[in-house]
């Protein structure tokens, strides 16, 4: 049974429809990320759950109760803002104690719980400081402590790490995940950073234009994206038009426009359309020597174009019979512009969308 349940929710500002018949279920204790490009509706979804905006239609059920019309300050959710939104006129201690004071918690207990929470986020020595005397990462942790200390029924995080530098981001996301697991608190996490999102989530919802395109575990989304948008978003850069020849339980056969045969694992087929797109990551395509292994299945002939150095690998733009493809090759050898190559696209690495 889901703890949080958005049912056919729609949000629109005038003619601008942000969410349309949106549905989302979240299990208790899970950390679910909303991932997508800016403008996809992920922040709107989070603010809707938080109660800062009202849906034009649809219902929000939380813990079997109808929360659709419950005002923000009665929801008991913790919200961490992108800008942290620390109260500049209050010390770290008073920032964290804010929610408890409103709940008329006894003074002694406030002190105990605030200090405990500051201890968890590693800021016990900073309780007397003011927000402007803290670094970005410290502010972020105060914001987290402030949201967690009220023991919220749900934790909402809106791009909490986007204002930090790359190294700190990695450190902080591990911290957030650890605290979330320890306290076993159901969490909704909004981000546009794929790596960040995959590393800490139980489930990821990839959003595009107001709908969830794919909701699954990070591993499944990474390996087997359900739609072309999701495939593109998680790094499948090459798309080849294919049409179905025969379908079997284990392996199915497709033809490309120029008549090449492609065999694909049937579990990787995500659409029943006759013409379909075969997607593959640049790093999964293998460059095989011409004249070598002469199986024609799952291969394409091409001419090497521009190449760039990525550090671990070279990346080539290869002009093939079915269009330009991005292909990564190891650094043992750098192919020259104009060189003829054969490309091999392994059947277990291709996804059909």
């Amino acid at each position: 049974m889901a703890l949080l349940n958005l049912k056919d929710v729609s949000v629109a500002y005038g003619d601008n429809v942000v969410l349309k018949d949106f549905n989302l279920n979240i299990k208790k204790g899970d950390l679910v990320s909303l991932l997508g490009p800016s403008g996809c509706g992920k922040t709107t979804t989070l603010r809707l759950i938080g109660g800062f905006i009202q849906a034009n239609k649809g219902k929000f059920i939380f813990n079997d109760k109808d929360y659709t019309k419950v005002p923000v300050h009665k929801r008991e959710f913790g919200f961490v803002f992108q800008s942290y939104a620390l109260f500049p006129h209050l010390s770290v201690f008073d920032n964290v104690a804010f929610g408890l004071k409103l709940r008329k918690t006894p003074k002694g207990e406030i002190k105990k719980r605030v200090m405990e929470m500051l201890d968890i986020v590693g800021l016990a020595d900073y309780s007397k400081r003011y927000p402007k005397e803290l670094s970005g990462g410290q502010r972020q942790r105060v914001a987290l402590a402030r949201a967690l200390v009220i023991k919220p029924d749900l934790l909402l995080l809106d791009e909490p790490l986007s204002n930090l530098d790359a190294k700190l981001r990695v450190k902080m996301r591990v911290g957030i995940r650890k605290i979330q697991k320890e306290l076993n608190i159901t969490t909704v996490y909004v981000t546009h950073d794929q790596e960040e999102c995959f590393s800490i989530s139980d489930k990821v919802a990839v959003m595009n234009e107001g709908v969830i395109e794919h909701l699954d575990t990070p591993q499944n989304i990474y390996d087997n994206p359900k739609t072309e948008f999701v495939a593109n978003f998680v790094g499948f850069e090459n798309f080849i038009d294919l049409s179905l020849q025969s379908k079997n339980e284990d392996i199915s056969t497709y033809n490309s426009k120029n008549g090449r045969v492609f065999k694909v694992k049937s579990t990787n087929i995500n659409s029943n359309k006759e013409t379909i797109k075969g997607a593959i990551r640049p790093e999964e395509i293998k460059i095989v020597n011409k004249g070598g292994d002469n199986k024609d299945e799952n291969t394409l002939d091409g001419i090497v174009g521009i190449s760039t150095f990525l550090g671990k690998e070279y990346q080539y733009m290869v002009d093939t019979e079915v269009g330009k493809l991005l292909v990564n090759g190891n650094t043992n050898k750098r192919y020259k512009e104009g060189e003829k190559v054969k490309l091999y696209l392994p059947k277990e690495k291709m996804v059909l969308v």
């Binding site: 800062f52 300050h73 919200f79 803002f81 992108q82 620390l86 804010f98 409103l102 949201a147 009220i150």
Partner: protein, 261 residues
Amino acid sequence: MNTKSRFLTIFSVLVYTFLIFPLVIITAAAFGANDYLKFPPEGFSFKWVANIFEVEMFIRTFKISIEIAVFGTFLALLIGIPAAYILSRYQFKGRNFLQGLFLSPVLIPAIVFGFSLLKFLIIKMQFPVYTSLLIGHTVVILPYIIRVISSSLESFDYSIEEAAVSLGAGRIKTFFIIVLPNITSGVIAAFILAFINSFNNVPISIFLTGPGVSTLPIQMMSYVEYYFDPTIAALSVILMLMTAILMFIIERTLGLSFFTK
């Protein structure tokens, strides 16, 4: 430094001499010993400063000026802060029009407004002079309040308001414990600016005087018409001291760069 910027420096210094010199003159004149205004003054004396306190009308109108400025400013703050908050916080239809409307009292020639108040409030509605004076001042200083409060809300991060609500504070409570404490410097600066403008006002007050009710600037103007002794110079020095103190507070709260906006 080349010749051009030297010219510019000398020019600017001369312009500033023009701005400051008269205030120096008036200060020197205040401590002269002669019986009429003369420059340079002969001798040094505090008798004109002492004389201010001999003129009962100055004392009385000074009190009235302070009262009107303080009450008027409080009223204008009470009305202006919520209005400025709504106008800065929310985007809505007619917002620009309303903003213009709230700032309009400064665009209308004050002398016309004063005259209109005399006709409407005192003659037609039979309001007491004192009440009319208070109303006139409240209206005319409202734009200062709106402008200063709006400008201090400009840089306000409204997500801290949402943070307070998400932690369980109601909307009204949030305003008082989160928004207000973070714009205190704006409120203080608005108070002082409005106070100064009310205290110095002439063109409205001059129509709204009556038996026993007048303001200090009006009293000073009529004094100058009949007497040409240094009492007014001495009084001016005291007023300049007051201005300097208030300006110092503005500098500490809002920063004087506000005036170049």
